[in-house]
C-alpha cells in the first residue's frame, strides 16, 4: 500500500456487501474485541494469519501541501511494524507475568464501528475498514484514549471465528502518542 493512499478515504465499492457478510464481519470484530478486553491474548494471536503485517505508521503534523507525506512509509518503522513471528514474541511477553507495563493488568475497552467491506479479486478475501476507540485504564488513576481507524485484509477461514487477519494497518489519531507507552493492541 502506498503511504499516500492512507491519507485518502477508504475506497468503498459502489455496491454494498450482503447483509450477511456485513453481519459476519462485524460479529468477528466484536468477538475479537472481547478477546482483547478480557486478556485472551493467545486466542487473539490465533486470529492472525501467518503472513500478517501488523503495522501502525507514525503520523506527522504536516502542512496541507505536504499531506501526502503524513505517514511514515512501509519499511520506515512506525509504532508497530510486526510479522506473525514478532507478534508471537509480544504475546509471549504479555502472558509471561513479568511484562510490568501490563501487570497489574490494565482495563481496556475496544469499541469498533463504521465497518465497511470490499470484496476483492481473491475469493473469500475482504478489505475492511473500521473505526475504533480503545480506552485503557490502569493502576490507580491512569486513563488513555486511543482513537483511530483500522484497514484490514480478512480471509475467511475454516473453524475458529470464521476469519483470519492477513493485514492490519492502524491509523492512530495522534501524532505524539499521549500515553507513557503503547502496550495495548488494536
Amino acid at each position: 500500500m502506498e503511504v499516500k493512499e492512507l491519507v485518502k478515504p477508504f475506497k468503498w465499492a459502489d455496491s454494498s456487501p450482503s447483509l450477511e457478510l456485513q453481519h459476519e464481519i462485524e460479529q468477528f470484530y466484536y468477538k475479537e474485541a472481547q478477546l482483547l478486553d478480557h486478556s485472551e491474548f493467545e486466542a487473539w494471536l490465533g486470529l492472525m494469519d501467518k503472513d500478517i503485517h501488523y503495522w501502525m505508521p507514525i503520523r506527522m503534523n504536516r502542512l496541507g501541501r505536504e499531506m501526502a507525506q503524513e505517514y511514515t512509509a512501509i519499511g520506515q518503522g512506525g509504532h508497530y511494524d510486526d510479522t506473525y513471528e514478532t507478534m508471537r514474541g509480544r504475546i509471549r511477553a504479555r502472558v509471561s507475568g513479568v511484562n510490568w507495563a501490563e501487570n497489574p493488568v490494565s482495563r481496556t475497552r475496544h469499541l469498533i464501528s463504521n465497518v465497511m467491506i470490499n470484496e476483492t479479486e481473491e475469493p473469500n478475501t475482504y478489505e475492511v475498514v473500521s473505526s475504533f476507540i480503545v480506552y485503557r485504564n490502569r493502576s490507580e488513576n491512569q486513563a488513555d484514549i486511543f482513537p483511530g481507524e483500522r484497514r484490514d485484509v480478512l480471509r475467511r477461514s475454516e473453524g475458529g471465528l470464521g476469519f483470519k487477519i492477513a493485514r492490519r494497518t492502524i491509523l492512530i489519531d495522534q501524532s505524539t502518542l499521549l500515553s507513557n507507552n503503547l502496550s495495548v493492541f488494536f
Binding site: I58, M60, N61, R62, L63, E66, Q69, T72, A73, G75, Q76, G77, G78, H79, Y80, D81, D82, T83, T86, R88, G89, R90, R92, A93, R94, S96, V98, N99, W100, A101, E102, S139, E140, Q142, S175, T176, L177, L178, S179, N180, N181, L182, S183
Partner: protein, 450 residues
C-alpha cells in the same frame, strides 16, 4: 552571566547530591523552582541533541523540535550548513513554523504575517512602510539564533555563546559515541521519522538510566522483553545476566555509558540477522579495524549511553537515538529516531528498523516497561516522606581497581553508580556555577591515572 537568585542557593543545590555518601535528594525530580533553574542553567547552556543531519538532507528541509522547552527550527541552508533558530516570532511570540518537518522556501507567521527566510532572517513585515516607525529595523527582530555543531551526523545546538565548542563539551566520550557513529567511513543515516510519546516522569530518570544503568536490564525490568525475543523452544530459564562489562564516565561533563564485554551480542535484542551483521562479516570487520585503535570494539556487547543532559542512545544494532525533552518537572516527551550504517545492505536497514519498533520504541517490548517504572516513581514522589527520604546511589562507591586500561577514559564495573554520581555531580555544577570560567573543562595537565 549571573544567575537569577531564588530560594535555591549554591550551597542548597550542592546539598541535593551527596556523591561521598551516595545519596540523592528526591526533590531534584519534583521541585518546580529547581526545574525553572534547570531550563536556564542546564538547558540554556548545554549542547542539546536535535536530530541527525539526514533528517534535513536538502536545502530548505526543516525539522521543528525543542531546546529545553523552547521551540526551535532546524533548517538546511543553501550552502549546506544547518541553522537552528527559535521557533518564535518576536512580534507577539507566535510559533513561526507549526509542522513537524517538511521543505520550505520561507516561514511566515500565521498571526500577522511576519516572514522569515530559511536562515531565520526577518525579511518581510506587512505594512512596514505605512505603519511602522521609520527607524524600525527588521534585522533587530529576527528570531534568536542558536549555535549549531555536528558530531558525526548528530546535530547539537547550544544557546550559550560562552559555552565551549561541542568537541570540548563531549570531553573524552567521543570514542564511545564512535561505536555507533563511526563504524564505517560512510557514516550513518536516519530511518523513518521521529517517534514521540509522553511519559509523566522527570527527565533525569530517563537520562541517568541510559547513562549508567545496566543494572535494571540485568535484573527485573526487562524480563518480558527477553521472553519476547527468545526462540519458541526456549524459556526464561535460559536467561543468565551477563556479569562482565564496564561503565565509562567522562572526564568532564557528566556523560556516561555502559557495555557488556565478551558476550554474544544477543539476537534476543536485535534479532538474528542484525546480530550477525554486528558480530561477523565485512561490516563488523571494518568497524573493528576503524575502532580498534581506540578500544577492543570486537569484545563489546550491548551498550547504552547518555550525553549530558538529555541525549541518549543504544549502540550495537539497537541504534535508537533520542532526546528526552523536559515538559515540566513531572513530564517528558521522548523524541526517538533510528540510525543505521549508511552503507549497510538494504535488508539490514529494513530489519533493523523493524527490530527497533519491536524493542526500543513506545510499544517496544523493552521500552514499554521503562515507561511503567518511571511513571510509578514520579507518582510516589508526590508524598512528603517520599520527597524527604534520600534515595540510595551507593553501588560501586569507593570500589577501586575496576578500571580497565584497555578502554579509553575512566571505567568501572558495569554494575555501578559511578556514572550516576558523575551525571548528578555535573548537574550540580551546571546548576550552581554561573561562569564558564570555573565550569569549563580545564586543559588536561595530567594524564588519567590508570
Amino acid at each position: 552571566m549571573s544567575f537569577n537568585t531564588g530560594n535555591w542557593t549554591s550551597a542548597s543545590i550542592h546539598s541535593l547530591v551527596d556523591t561521598e555518601q551516595g545519596k540523592i535528594d528526591p526533590r531534584i525530580y519534583t521541585d518546580q523552582e529547581l526545574y525553572e533553574l534547570e531550563l536556564e542553567r542546564v538547558f540554556g547552556r548545554s549542547w542539546l541533541l536535535l536530530g541527525h543531519e539526514s533528517h534535513v538532507p536538502k536545502k530548505g528541509d526543516y525539522l521543528t523540535t525543542y531546546m529545553g522547552e523552547d521551540p526551535v527550527v532546524m533548517v538546511r541552508q543553501r550552502d549546506g550548513s544547518i541553522k537552528v533558530f527559535h521557533n518564535q516570532c518576536r512580534h507577539r511570540g507566535m510559533r513561526i513554523c507549526r509542522a513537524d518537518c517538511g521543505n520550505a522556501k520561507a516561514f511566515t507567521c500565521t498571526y500577522h504575517g511576519w516572514a522569515y527566510d530559511t536562515a531565520g532572517k526577518l525579511v518581510n513585515v506587512p505594512f512596514e512602510e505605512e505603519a511602522f516607525p521609520s527607524d524600525f529595523k527588521k534585522e533587530d527582530w529576527g528570531p534568536l539564533q542558536a549555535r549549531v555543531e555536528i558530531y558525526k551526523g548528530l546535530v547539537f545546538a547550544n544557546w550559550d555563546p560562552e559555552a565551549p565548542d561541542l568537541l570540548t563539551y563531549l570531553s573524552d566520550a567521543t570514542p564511545y559515541m564512535d561505536t555507533m557513529l563511526d563504524r564505517s567511513e560512510a557514516g550513518t543515516e536516519v530511518i523513518g521519522t521521529m517517534q514521540k510519546w509522553v511519559i509523566p516522569c522527570n527527565w533525569k530518570f530517563a537520562a541517568e538510566q541510559f547513562a549508567g544503568d545496566m543494572y535494571h536490564a540485568a535484573t527485573t525490568s526487562h524480563l518480558a522483553a527477553v521472553v519476547a525475543g527468545l526462540p519458541e523452544d526456549q524459556d526464561l530459564s535460559v536467561f543468565q545476566p551477563h556479569m562482565k562489562g564496564h561503565q565509562f564516565l567522562s572526564e568532564w561533563g557528566g556523560h556516561g555509558c555502559g557495555f557488556y564485554l565478551d558476550t554474544a551480542r544477543g539476537s534476543v535484542r536485535v534479532g538474528p540477522l542484525v546480530d550477525k551483521y554486528y558480530s561477523e562479516g565485512p561490516a563488523f570487520e571494518k568497524a573493528k579495524e576503524r575502532l580498534e585503535s581506540k578500544m577492543p570494539y570486537h569484545r563489546m556487547g550491548a551498550s547504552h549511553m547518555t550525553i549530558f543532559p538529555n541525549c541518549s542512545f543504544l549502540p550495537y544494532g539497537m541504534n535508537t537515538v533520542r532526546t528526552w525533552h523536559p515538559k515540566g518537572p513531572n513530564q517528558i516527551e521522548v523524541w526517538a529516531f533510528v540510525i543505521v550504517d549508511k552503507d549497510a545492505p538494504q535488508e539490514i536497514k529494513d530489519e533493523l528498523a523493524r527490530q527497533n519498533v519491536r524493542t526500543f520504541s513506545a510499544g517496544g517490548v523493552y521500552e514499554q516497561d521503562d515507561g511503567e517504572n518511571w511513571v510509578e516513581i514520579q507518582n510516589a514522589l508526590r508524598g512528603y516522606k517520599s520527597k524527604t527520604a534520600p534515595l540510595a546511589m551507593q553501588m560501586g562507591l569507593n570500589v577501586q581497581g575496576k578500571n580497565n586500561p584497555e578502554f579509553p577514559g575512566q571505567t568501572s564495573y558495569v554494575f555501578s553508580e559511578d556514572v550516576a554520581r558523575g551525571f548528578y555531580s555535573h548537574w550540580v555544577r551546571m546548576m550552581s556555577e554561573s561562569s564558564w570560567d570555573t565550569l569549563r573543562p580545564q586543559p588536561a595537565t595530567t594524564a588519567t591515572v590508570k
